[in-house]
């Protein structure tokens, strides 16, 4: 039996520990947000509160352009990755074929390979295939490393899936397309959505592969920040970063809420 004293000691220790964990995780983010409101150009001392960097950010067309470019690339590569990844996962779940084991193993390679190696090999491939470096090459590159993540999340969802559900639908008069759109896709949708979110975020913050596979015409947001670091980060970059964080937070809250609702609906 533990005494009351040791229990309360343990409790206060674990509370202290988790406080430190949260400070460690969130302090850097808080600092970025804080300095986006700083009147000083230098980001060492907080001198006064201002919104002016947000105004300047809107004026900074090359910064905004890089952000828009990032969103376009992320959306396009996510769309490609979701379609190919979902079909791959469904095919690997449904059919038995000889090279299945090999394909399974190969899927992990883009995930575990150092990004710099993938970046160089994509660059070499684009050079051989005569693809000009720009937005298109960037989208292809991002889709390449996103596909395995979609396959993994969709397959995880499929692992508990009973094939006889599809047979039941067919038995009740649904043709193959109706089965796919009315039964299979709605059931695996949570897997597809989490795969898409993963692919989208990976694409947005990718630096190394983008560095190798894009041209001067399509600079992404991480590349832009990296570029500006050389001449010292301006607080308008902080302002844009804060806005991105806010958007991310909203997306996370919405997805959590809908997951909670879903769980409630199906009584789990």
């Amino acid at each position: 039996m533990q005494t009351k004293k040791t229990v309360s000691l343990q409790n206060s220790f674990s509370r202290l520990f988790s406080t430190f964990v949260y400070i460690f995780l969130y302090a850097p983010i808080a600092i970025v947000i804080l300095f986006s409101f700083n009147t000083s150009r230098r980001n060492i001392i907080f001198e006064g509160f201002t919104f002016s960097w947000y105004g300047e950010m809107i004026q900074n067309s090359s910064l905004l352009q890089s952000f828009v470019n990032t969103l376009i690339v992320a959306s396009a590569s996510t769309a490609i990755a979701v379609v190919i990844g979902t079909l791959t996962a469904v095919a690997m779940f449904r059919y038995r074929f000889k090279v299945k084991g090999a394909i399974d193993a190969l899927l992990y390679i883009p995930v575990v390979i150092p990004e710099i190696v993938l970046g160089i090999s994509l660059l070499a491939s684009f050079a051989i295939a005569n693809v000009p470096l720009g937005r298109i090459s960037l989208i292809i590159a991002h889709a390449t490393f996103s596909i395995p993540f979609v396959v993994f999340t969709v397959r995880a969802r499929l692992s508990g899936y009973d094939r006889s559900i599809e047979e039941a639908a067919m038995d009740l008069g649904a043709n193959r397309i109706q089965v796919l759109t009315g039964i299979t896709i709605p059931i695996i949708a949570p897997g597809i959505i989490s795969g898409a979110i993963l692919a989208f975020t990976l694409s947005i913050d990718d630096f190394i592969i983008s560095f190798f596979t894009t041209g001067a015409s399509s600079i992404t947001f991480p590349l832009k920040i990296m570029e500006s670091v050389r001449s010292g980060i301006r607080p308008d970059v902080y302002a844009l970063s804060s806005i991105i964080m806010l958007i991310t937070l909203i997306v996370v809250i919405i997805s959590q809420l809908s997951a909670y609702k879903n769980a409630k609906k199906s009584g789990k």
Partner: protein, 400 residues
């Protein structure tokens, strides 16, 4: 009294008029790679009957059902439904519905949408769907469950939804693949009766796959017993229980005592046989002398006495008297070590433990089972070994 005999005659709907075949299986074979799971199978299933396909796991019964539904294709042979060859028909083009072992309800739809699914696929008007779903819910006693999701239901309720979802489409044939397999004993018994009465009420053909012989006996008009890809016997529950065609069926359906015996002679409708433990009598069926037959006698048909009865000399020691509520099961060990099981109603006397008893039965209660091994023996006896040996010799000569 008169009324009673009438009600006994009435139910088997097959007996009334000349039944119409609804599903015909003609010479169907199914291979999985080199695995022969259904072997040249022929079967006719009639309108409005409750047919069970009974067999141990791996006998090909589920494969047969899946071929009728259209989920599997036969390697060769023909299946017709309502007289039409369904070779090239997809499952969604066949006018039959299936109740799956795992229920296979759509987890992302509520009960109403689950049951309405088939009608929606057929583009039935909305208000008609509503009234038919309501009717189906009443039929399976699930009124008020429309808005629930499958994960919120118990096993028995899920089963009822699966049945409602299938029967709402008014199929001509309903296929059921061990639908009660996942339910507990008590619920199972209750559902057996419900299913049977539902089938009578709807007047549609049920093809019911099960490995549970009691379930098959309770519900079926006819039972097809399958073993290793073949239908060993097809008949009414009474026929199958009282006159099993093979040793396998005698053993599989109900409890029985099997005696491997040799026919000695036949006289006046009685076969005189002997087995390892002694002499016994059976029904005369025109056996050849020295032919091996199996004599199957149900535990409730065996009697015992302290004196040997004429024609029988099967003596043994009473090893157990087990009280089972309505009966007492007595186990007698014969001289060759075979354990014979006897069921006696509780109100009748049972032999004392450790006493020596002789068992016997009325010959009309014995079932004589002819064994295919006799064919092999006959073939060997009739074989022309001299010619065969000559053939080998000429071959050897050729090789040298």
């Amino acid at each position: 009294m008169e009324k009673e005999t009438e009600s006994i005659k009435e139910p088997p709907s097959i007996a009334e008029e000349k039944p119409n075949p609804i599903v015909e299986i003609i010479g169907v074979d199914k291979f999985y790679d080199s695995n022969h799971v259904v072997k040249n199978l022929n079967m006719t299933i009639y309108e409005k009957e409750f047919l069970s396909i009974l067999g141990p796991s791996g006998c090909g019964k589920t494969t047969l059902l899946r071929m009728i539904a259209g989920f599997e294709h036969q390697t060769s042979g023909t299946i017709t439904i309502e007289g039409e060859n369904v070779e090239n028909k997809e499952p969604f083009e066949r006018n039959i519905n299936t109740v799956f072992q795992s229920y296979a309800l759509f987890p992302h739809m509520n009960i109403y949408d689950n049951i309405a699914y088939g009608l929606r696929m057929k583009k039935v008007p909305k208000n008609e769907i509503k009234s038919r779903v309501d009717k189906a819910l009443v039929m399976v006693r699930l009124e008020g469950f429309e808005q629930r999701y499958p994960s919120q239901l118990s096993g028995g309720q899920k089963q009822r939804v699966a049945i409602a979802r299938a029967i709402i489409n008014n199929p001509r044939v309903l296929l059921l693949d061990e639908p009660l397999g996942a339910l507990d004993m008590k619920l199972r018994k209750q559902m057996q009766i419900e299913l049977k009465s539902l089938q009578r009420k709807l007047g549609i053909t049920f093809i019911y796959v099960t490995h549970d012989q009691e379930e098959a006996l309770t519900m079926s008009d006819r039972i097809a017993v399958m073993n290793a890809g073949n239908v060993d016997q097809l008949g009414t529950p009474e026929e199958i229980y009282a006159r099993p065609a093979t040793k396998f069926i005698a053993d599989f359906i109900g409890e029985t005592n099997l005696f491997e015996a040799v026919a000695e002679e036949e006289r006046g409708g009685t076969a005189y046989l002997y087995c390892e433990a002694g002499d016994l009598l059976g029904k005369s069926e025109g056996f050849d002398p020295n032919e091996i037959v199996y004599v199957s006698v149900r535990p409730e048909k065996i009697r015992c006495s302290s004196q040997a009865v004429e024609g029988f000399s099967l003596g043994g020691v009473v090893r157990e008297n087990i009280y089972l509520g309505n009966i007492i099961k007595t186990i007698i060990m014969l001289t060759n070590g075979q354990a014979v099981r006897i069921n006696t109603p509780v109100d009748l006397p049972v032999p004392a433990l450790g006493s020596i008893q002789y068992i016997y039965w009325d010959i009309k209660d014995s079932v004589m089972i002819y064994t295919p091994s006799n064919d092999i023996i006959k073939q060997i006896e009739n074989a022309d070994f001299a010619a065969f040996a000559g053939e080998i010799k000429t071959k050897e000569a050729g090789n040298v």
